[in-house]
């Protein structure tokens, strides 16, 4: 088999001749950007072949590769086939960059009511007077210690097989673990000595891009450790649809399933290492993820969700033994998967709802989870409407000339002096700026509007004579940072097209909120809380989000970031089993609104393609502020 050596790390891997360089890189543990899912379309997986033979048709990709790149031996990792030993350089840009993964779940007050218990038991050894069997003896003792009744506990064969040895080797001092599963109480583990304090559970947020794991002590509820990982499936396609496409290919689903499990295990290991605990002592794993991710994790075909009539295979919550799907936790540990509402509204959103508490309140709340796709939930404990849509990548920095993800060097905060139009900004890790991430773009949009540099449709006012306002290659642009201030040696600008892309993205979100509000007949004044879930929501400036009309105008104090709602919800369900019952109720209660089937949605969208909205009476405070801005601008 040929060997592929990856530079500069000199990581080596053997691979079957004819495999792609991408497959070799994956085998070597590199996470390569494959936006298109390995179809040779996106050009994100460029690698440089330094020596050795590959099979790669440069002519076919001449639209993606420049002549100079071809000259340098650049080819696409997903298309180039390994013929013999290779030395390959993976440029930084090709690797998935480390980004801020939102791990904090905030403080979630919930009662401690786990679904798994440990009992340290000292058994009376059997005698001729007392010949009751080992198992009965053990279960009685559990009952006597305040646990479930002996007859109510089911003991699986593999545990029973362990019992005689463990009892006798331990001198009849053992710890028994009992879990409450849908079938009732189950004896899941028996071990020597007193390990009653070693009872842990894992809450998992299975995201399309990232995975976050919390390990909690189920005896007292404390957080023991936190781990995170990239979703290794990224090498099979960046967005969810390309994953499903990949799953349809031969063996694709199996591959994605094992990549999902690997990713969770990586995060689990990190978390358990930081906690200093043994993964075997994790007795329950609770996973919240979008519907497609959880289907894939369980090895269930997700294909029918992305074609008409868009049906998932399961909607209710799922339970199984965690080891059955390959999770590296205790042998009989349980796995609980959050229920879903529809193909687009998954367990992650149910987890958001749980974490927000909106399903238990009489007050009406609006919950917004923004990524490339967004989900919106409106309602209270009696009723809920939800919808989902595509916001486009602009809010995450995609499709914006100098947009980038929230990586080090990204401008994340901007203010613009209304008189001099000079921006001041801060970047992630205080590095020299490389680009602008989502929260920075929101600031920029709001500040340019307040400074009257752009009008409400986002067009730059070219009649302002200022060095930062200029005609770019195709369209007008505003200079955010001069090239000598940056890490990239070029001026960082925002173009009129970037601004339009941002407005379209924000308009999708606002139009979805408005559509649900109209559907329910709820005015903005009736909304008591707006919850922002997700990384984006945590970092953005809430005032600016209202100024540009990303969300309806409410007093800013009513807007709360709940951070990573998926992990928060998973934690709650892990700690308090009673909340699991609520989950299916939530999932049942929600009415899903298909935006594409709503004639009013396009109208709302057009209304929202304006800063902040065409109906200015929906944003009275913003209007007052902008009015003052215009007066100030007019007087300078």
């Amino acid at each position: 088999m040929p060997t592929v050596t990856f530079l500069p790390s000199f990581r080596k891997v053997e691979i079957v001749k004819g495999s792609t360089i991408l497959e070799a890189a994956q085998k070597a543990g590199f996470h390569i950007n494959v936006v298109c899912g390995g179809q040779g379309k996106c050009g994100k997986c460029k690698v440089i072949v330094k020596s050795g033979r590959t099979e790669f048709d440069h002519e076919q990709y001449e639209s993606i590769l420049s002549a100079a790149e071809v000259e340098d031996g650049v080819c696409l990792a997903c298309q180039a086939k390994v013929i013999d030993d290779l030395r390959v350089v993976i440029p930084d840009a090709t690797l998935v960059q480390e980004q801020q993964i939102l791990v904090d779940s905030g403080e979630i007050p919930t009662a401690l009511n786990p679904a798994v218990w440990k009992y340290f038991l000292t058994l009376v050894p059997p005698s001729l007077d007392d010949q009751s069997p080992d198992l009965t003896r053990l279960l009685w003792e559990i009952e006597k210690s305040g646990g479930p009744k002996e007859r109510a506990i089911y003991a699986p064969l593999e545990v029973i097989r362990r019992i005689p040895r463990v009892l006798r080797d331990s001198g009849w001092k053992i710890t028994a673990t009992v879990a409450l599963v849908p079938g009732g109480y189950r004896l899941i583990h028996v071990e020597k000595g007193d390990t009653a304090s070693h009872i842990y559970g894992a809450a998992v947020d299975l995201g399309t891009t990232t995975i976050v794991v919390y390990i909690r002590n189920l005896a007292d509820g404390h957080i023991m450790g936190i781990g995170s990982s990239y979703n290794h499936q990224i090498s099979c396609g960046e967005d969810i649809l390309s994953r499903v496409t990949y799953a349809k290919s031969g063996g694709g689903l199996t591959k994605l399933q094992s990549l999902a499990v690997d990713s969770i295990n990586v995060a689990l290991t990190e978390a358990s290492n930081s906690a200093g605990i043994d993964r075997e002592d994790i007795y329950e794993v609770v996973v919240a993820g979008n519907t497609i991710m959880t289907h894939i994790l369980m090895g269930i075909d997700p294909a029918y969700m992305i074609e008409e009539p868009y049906v998932p295979v399961v909607r209710r919550y799922l339970t199984t033994a965690a080891q059955r799907i390959g999770l590296a936790v205790g042998e009989n540990s349980g796995l609980f998967i959050f229920p879903a509402v529809s193909d687009f509204i998954g367990g992650d959103i149910i987890a958001d709802i749980l974490a927000s508490g909106m399903a238990e309140s009489e007050e009406i709340s609006l919950l917004i989870d923004i990524g490339t796709n967004f989900e919106v939930v409106l309602g209270n404990r009696d009723w809920m409407f939800t919808c989902a849509g595509a916001a486009g990548p602009a809010l995450e920095g995609g499709e914006v000339l100098f947009g980038m993800r929230a990586n080090p060097g990204a401008i994340e905060r901007i203010t613009i002096d209304p008189v001099t139009l000079v921006p001041s900004f801060s970047t992630i890790h205080n590095q020299k700026p490389k680009g602008i991430c989502g929260s920075g773009l929101i600031d920029l949009l709001a500040q340019l509007l307040e400074a009257c540099v752009i009008d409400r449709t986002g067009r730059i006012n070219m009649t302002i004579a200022h060095e930062r306002i200029r005609m770019g290659r195709h369209v007008p642009e505003f200079v955010v940072a001069w090239k000598d201030e940056t890490a990239i040696g070029r001026d960082i600008v925002v173009t009129e097209n970037d601004i339009k892309a941002l407005i379209m993205s924000k308009a999708s979100v606002l139009a979805a909120c408005q559509t649900l509000m109209n559907k329910a007949g709820i005015a903005r004044g009736e909304i008591s809380r707006i919850f922002f879930a997700g990384a984006f929501g945590n970092y953005l400036d809430k005032n600016h989000a209202i100024t540009i009309g990303l969300i309806p105008e409410v007093p800013v104090g009513r807007v709360t970031g709940i951070g990573n709602g998926a992990i928060a919800g998973a934690n709650i369900a892990l700690l308090n089993r009673r909340k699991k019952k609520v989950l299916d109720e939530i999932a049942e209660k929600i009415a899903y609104v298909e935006l594409n089937a709503e004639p009013a949605f396009m109208d709302e969208y057009t209304r929202s393609c304006f800063l902040p909205h065409t109906d200015l009476s929906l944003f009275p405070d913003v209007e007052t502020k902008l009015g003052q801005c215009r007066i100030r601008r007019g007087s300078t």
Partner: protein, 445 residues
Amino acid sequence: MASLKPLDIYKLLPKKNCKECGDPTCLTFAMKLAGGKAQPDQCPYLDENAKAILGASTRPPIQKVKIGVGERSFTLGEEMVQYRHEKTFIHEPGIMTAIPDTMPGDRIKEITTDVRDYVLTRIGTDLRLNGIAIRCESGSPGEFSRAVEAVESVADLPEVLMSTDPVCMEAGLGVSGNYRPLIHAATHENYQEMCRLAKKFSCPLAIRADTLDSLADLSSKCATEGVSNLLLDLTSPSLHEVLNRTTAVRQHAVTRQTPALGYPVFLDCAQPGLEDAFLVTGVAKFGSVLVCNPLSQPVRKALLVLRQNIYTDPQKPIQITPGLYRIGSPGKDAPVLLSVNFSLTFFTLQGYLEASRVPSLMLVVDTEGLSVLTAVASGKLQEAMVKEAIAKFDLGNAVSHRKLIIPGYAAPLSGRIEDATGWKVLVGPRDAADIAEFLLQEWKP
């Protein structure tokens, strides 16, 4: 008039989530009710109050009336809204060509044949005139029935029999009464007789009175007589008066303020010097049966197209099938223009291209019926689709060059389309009206 929101309806439902209506929850059922996609009686647990509220909000406030029998018969009424943008108008008005019974039989047959055979095909739909109105001007039952016979001898078109004399009317009905003609008209003076005829022949009846109050009174009287398939004749020599009457009747009907006016509207548009204006007002402003003199070719075309336009469902954009469309006989060096499958955009561009007399090709991509502006805005027009369409419709073989003219509003996509397709992109004008000038000045294969 204001339709109920799902949450308002939900509050009226039992909130049992029993699933017996076929929906998973009361809330999803409420959404369907609000959208007119379910009926209240699908819920077995509605109380009387809820039934009353929900029943009233889903039942059409305007009486359904059918005129004629067979293929050319048509239905009126059942309208729900004041403005077509609120939902849609439902039943197109019938256009009835009037002939006097004093007209020679041959001429009557000629006109009837013309009405029977005339057809204008637009966007795959056949547009037709609907029927014949026979005016009893002779005052003679014999003349009147002779004229009705002449009409009947060439066509089984829907008819309006126009006479206020019950004797003449009965003579006419003796000829065509079994084919459900509209009886015109009952007044306060003759309504008992006319109602008797309407019942005897099971025909719809148009009623006429001086004021709307008097008309509401008359409709109640006819209802008492057992005739509820009524039309309200709102004709007045003053077009201003007609507009105000039709508007008031529709308002009172759809708001259910005056249920006695909840009937379709009849207008005699054959008014000297203002027939076009009466017809336009009738089509746009709530007319259901429009009587007119024989119309010239240009006017009937314009009228039928206007009627089609006004009665198109505004929530369903008419879409064109994506594909490669040829204008004239384009050669290998003909320009190719990218467009979207929104019918308005397509037809407008097609019109201007034809006018330019430059043979060309239109590459129409599927933007789900959105215009260029909205498609670009909402991401429904993307470079990948253009690339796909070029391959799918084999554009590479249709022309020998590799240049694509894109709409001016799609300019933000120019670079990406060029990158994705490898075709050179020329940004065309935003206004289709400027396309001829653009081709003349800019196009070189």
